[in-house]
Amino acid sequence: MFDKINYLLIIFFCLNILNAKKECKKEIRFNLSQEIIEHIIDSHDFHICGNLIIPLPIILWDNGFKIFLSNKFYNQKIVNYSGFFYKKYKNIIYKTDKNGNLYFDKNGNPINKKPLDLSITKNVITIIIISIIIICIFLKMANSYNKYIMSWTFGKYLEPIILFIINTIAIPNIGIKKYKEYLPFLLTLFFFILINNLIGILPIIPNITGNISITLSLSLFTFFMIISNKLCWKHIFCIPNIPLLIKFILIPIEFIEIFIRPITLCIRLFANIIAGHILIFSLISLIFIFKNILIASFSIPFALFISILEILVAFIQAFIFTNLSALFIGKIFKKNH
């Protein structure tokens, strides 16, 4: 299996070099930071390679749903949707007047109204595809049990991971009494992050877990899992055997702690994944900066090394996120003995 992944990586790198050559010939001024950020953040259309761009549906909420395809924005066009005018500026959709005038403040940011953007973006479509892949894999796995024995070869690789989550993450952190309640959540979380991390390493496919909205959403699930339990609040406000004065200090600390935990979870995953991607991208960009193909002999092995490191990081970060979620959930029960 790993052989195939390596081959895929090499092929993608080769494609990247070819792309790089083309763009070098065009002699466009290369703005590295802008280019990297454009590749990493979410966008309204799926840029595959060269001129091949797949437009995705845009859904706006502005006194009613407004749905149209993103290719209407190409070449800085103004979209007229039954009397409402919209314009895209730096990846954000603004409401404008008939002529598409944008009004800027001192810092150069538009002060026009922004409609609520619920578009099916590049990341959303990838999440949907990956979710379907996960469902397919695990449905196949659940159906290929033959009297306690896994008959599917790929399932044999997945089963130890599931057992690892049960025995190393769920039971030690949450405790043997309560772990079954949270196990489906932890398993879903782990596999969602792991598969997204791994697929995110491949070029073309956006790195979903390197997007702060996604990690924030994931950590919010953990947050709601924690605060939905009454025991959590009980142990913040009713600390036994502690003087009143210290209580006044402790209660705010404990209260803030609950909100800080999901934020740290969110930023840890986001930063780790995005750092790897920026590193790979920077190394490959050296070719564009120096405009010399010989740099490839230096930057490609390094990028390959970082890519392999990324595979490791993918597993580690998925493990850490799940483990810390389990730890935070487990704290509710352990403190109330």
């Binding site: 953007d117 099916i120 990341n123 695990f138 049990y145 599931i162 879903t188 996604i214």
Partner: protein
């Protein structure tokens, strides 16, 4: 700043998709997989316990066997000892008996031999006497047929008697 600004649309979709994914996986996948895993664990634990029990039983049986073997060995030795003792006893008795009997037989035969000897001697004596009488008769008849000899003979006898 684009990098660290969360967008509401993405959070919204991610939340919906993740909830759907979670519910689908929980209902159709994790339930079954965890059930199978648990069943298998239970099965393995049970069979291990069973093996342990079987081992203990085997050990008990082995110990019993050993005890039985030891007892049998002891019995065997005892029986052998007894048999040897009896054998010696029988041998000894047989020897004694044989001695006594042989002595008896010897005694009897000796007596018989003595008796037979006596009888034989008596018979011999009788026969000798008869033979001597016959011989003397014949001699006398012969001698007496001649006068001189008769006289001589008588003289001799008379001489002897003198």
């Amino acid at each position: 700043m684009d990098l660290v600004t969360p967008s509401i649309g993405l959070i919204f979709w991610q939340t919906i998709i993740f909830i759907l994914l979670f519910l689908i996986l929980k209902k159709f996948v994790w339930k079954y997989i965890l059930e199978y895993v648990e069943k298998r664990e239970y099965n393995i634990r049970k069979s291990l316990e069973f093996v342990e029990k079987a081992k203990q039983e085997v050990n008990i049986i082995k110990e019993n066997n050993n005890l039985l073997l030891k007892e049998a060995m002891l019995k065997k030795e005892k029986i052998l000892k007894e048999a040897l003792y009896i054998k010696k006893k029988i041998e000894f008795e047989a020897k004694e008996n044989a001695k006594i009997e042989s002595e008896n037989i010897i005694n009897k035969t000796m007596e018989k031999i003595k008796n037979d000897k006596k009888e034989a001697l008596e018979i011999l004596k009788k026969e000798l006497i008869q033979l001597s009488i016959i011989a003397s008769e014949k001699l006398l008849k012969k001698e007496l047929s001649i006068k001189n000899t008769q006289e001589n003979f008588l003289n001799k006898i008379i001489d002897d008697l003198k």
